[in-house]
Amino acid sequence: MNYSEENIRSALTERLHSAINRAYLRLASTTTAVCILGLMCVFYLAGTVFPQGVSLTEYINGGGGFVFLVALLDLLDFFTSPVFLILAFTLFLNLLVCVYEKYPSLFVKGPYPAEFTPEHSVALTQDLKEAFEKVREVFVKELGFRPVESESRWNVVQKGLPCGLLTWLFHAGAAVCFLGFILTYLFAYDGTMRLAPKKASTVVPRETGRLKSLWTAKDGPTDFHLYLDEFVTEYSEYPDLDYPEDRTARLAVGLGWSSPSYELREDSLFVKDWKARIKVIRGNNTLREKTAEVNSPLKYGGYTFYLAGWADTVKVSVDRNPILLEVLSGDEIFVPGLLDPLVFGDVKSGRVYRLDGRTEDLRPFTTVKRKSGVGYEYLGKVLFGDSVTLNGHSITPAGFETGAVLNYRYDPGAGVLWAGGLLLLSALALRVFIGRATAAYDLVELDGIVFLNLFVSSEGLGYSPDKTVAALTRHLTKDDIRPQEIPPGQ
């Protein structure tokens, strides 16, 4: 045997080709899809079992077991681990190959078998030619079928939507969704910023998408500014339900022996909505204006800004001093003359929707706590302008400012995902809820009697073969052809 370099190379190329061919065939198979999806399920399960986003040390200190496996498979950050990503990518390839393989079959009509096995046989009392015309007319005019060209001896008619195309479309939609995931994985990043009222802020990203971070530390600051015009909080009154926890007592309510009752407690205010009126400005120009709400983000310049919450700055006067101290609610502040720091709670201000339909503006108030040992001593609620006296000092919350906390995100994958999802959902819904019915029929004359042999099938849930046969029979009866159902094969 000649082991020349050329021979070795061609043998290797051949092996490579055959390996690629085999891999391709594997990826084109639905069985492979079943296997990969099964493995994905096991992986998802692992992701719900092991806490995500904690460090291995935290996990071990918390008493977690299976440490070797956890470390080996990166189970605490499993959904971005190489094992998971490789499997997800293989499913994506599987889907792509499948979609590519099915593409040519979209343009192929049929194929319809030369012979169908009749599932219904109906005896007609007309001659063959007349019966043929009538059956065709009923199918087309009454039942809405259209004749389909086929090489079969049987006549084939169809109605509904091209299911092959719809199946292809929703698989293509799933592939587009995957593309969206990949774009998000590679390019998306996010961060948090605080908008102080009546001040312009610029987005200064602290991160860059995974792929981009290979060549740049972060994107530059944006050339536009965000300006918080107004921040409004709305509250509604919220009654508490007096209802037993105990099972027997609950049963007693069911039997009508006792009744549940709603009660209004003091301070039963529930945040109904936050609204931030934000302007996007460049120089003196306002480029966009929007009242952002929790479920209604502001979009500009590729970024989406989500209203995540608010941050209050409380301005405090000590002993009526006009020079005010400023502190974020929730943070500790040392007040001159007091040994222990104070903490002011969230400011409650804005509009209240009362249960009886009245609306009113809240007189703004906050709460005060004093650090005491390891905990805090609650000192009470204070209206703005009122004071609390501590160790002979009068502490007055004199004013406040409410700023908006925004999460910003850059994600070029989300739009692609919505497009793919829409394609997937609409094609899937049409395929499943409408689908297609195919009927094949043949008319034969035996001993002077004409028989209509029928085969009806359907894909999807929109058409029922039984109903089609029943409707056909009804129409034929109406035209006095007097069909008579006989068992197939007789």
Binding site: T31, V34, L37, G38, M40, C41, Y44, G47, T48, V49, F50, P51, Q52, G53, V54, E58, Y59, G62, G63, G64, G65, F66, F79, F181, T184, Y238, P239, L241, Y243, R250, G254, S259, P260, Y262, E263, F270, V271, K272, D273, W274, V294, N295, S296, P297, T304, Y306, L355, D356, G357, N407, Y408, D411, A414, L417, W418, G421, L425, L428, V432, L461
Partner: protein
């Protein structure tokens, strides 16, 4: 204009009625379960018919209480655990009654369906709070509402499908050609009966897909991320993937039989596990600490 006290006493009164209706529907579902069991033990068709009637009564009571709650809350009542379980129980019973409307004297799948409906109702009544709570701004989204409604509806449809599948698996070895019908099932109609399990999954699948999609739109609008791998989202993905496998298995000749049936049952188990045991049950079972999980 009514004052607050009148509004509260009216709300308490309506909740009292609602709870009584809820207990009544649980009672009907439990009666249906017992009657379906009698039917299974005795094979008497009369018990099957009575069980169906009890199920219809349960459905009527529950449809009433859900409508009442929708009126009280001024929104679709499918947001809290109490509400979603109630919606799930109703959907399962309705899906069963609808899909079985053409079966003659076949009542076996009713055992599992009525057990699921009764279980969901009793769980809601004993373990969840019936208070109509104001929704936090985060949950005030149509997308979230659609997610809840569609997800629990599809779960209910899958539960009915699994009941049929399980019945088929247990009963088919006993159904022989030319023998008397076994619980109404004959060699002729059993394939059709089994096909209805597939058709139900096919029917429920787009609803679950839409639920996952609308959940992603909601999360994206609210938190800025369409997917965060939290346990709730991941479990809905597990269920969706299992039913995707089932639908594929149905088109692979080697898997279309028992293997596909097994996937249908696994999907049902995953629904039961998440609906009744909660999303962290497996971690608890394996003794894995929950720690700080799933940062958004």
């Amino acid at each position: 204009m009514l004052n607050s006290d009148s509004i509260l006493s009216m709300a308490s009164y309506l909740l009292g009625i609602e709870l009584r209706l809820f207990w009544a529907s649980s009672l009907f579902y439990t009666m249906a379960l017992l009657l379906f069991i009698f039917h299974t033990v005795t094979r008497a068709v009369i018990f099957g018919k009575a069980a169906r009637t009890a199920l219809v009564a349960g459905v009527l009571a529950q449809a009433g209480l859900i409508s009442l709650r929708a009126f009280e809350a001024g929104r679709a009542p499918a947001q809290t655990l109490y509400e979603t379980l109630s919606w799930f129980a109703l959907s399962a019973a309705v899906a069963y009654l609808y899909s079985s409307r053409r079966w003659r004297n076949i009542y076996l799948p009713g055992v599992l369906v009525s057990a699921v409906s009764a279980g969901a109702c009793l769980y809601a009544l004993f373990a969840a709070s019936p208070a109509i709570e104001p929704l936090s701004p985060v949950l005030q989204s149509r997308w979230f509402e659609w997610r809840q409604i569609n997800m629990f509806f599809s779960y209910a449809v899958f539960a009915v499908s699994a009941s049929i599948e399980a019945t088929y698996l247990i009963i088919s070895p006993f159904v022989k050609k030319d023998c008397a019908p076994c619980y109404g099932l004959t060699a002729e109609n059993i394939r059709d009966f089994h096909r209805s399990a597939f058709r139900l999954v096919l029917f429920g699948y787009p609803f679950l897909t839409f639920a996952i999609f609308s959940g992603a739109v909601w999360a994206n609008n609210t938190f800025g991320r369409y997917w965060s791998w939290d346990a709730g989202q991941t479990w809905s993905l597990i269920t969706w993937t299992v039913f995707t496998i089932y639908l594929h298995a149905k088109s692979v000749p080697a898997l279309t039989g028992r293997a596909a049936s097994a996937f249908n049952i696994i999907g049902f188990v995953s629904i039961l596990a998440t609906t009744f045991l909660g999303v962290n049950w497996l971690a608890g079972l394996l003794g894995i600490p929950l720690l700080r999980i799933y940062a958004l």
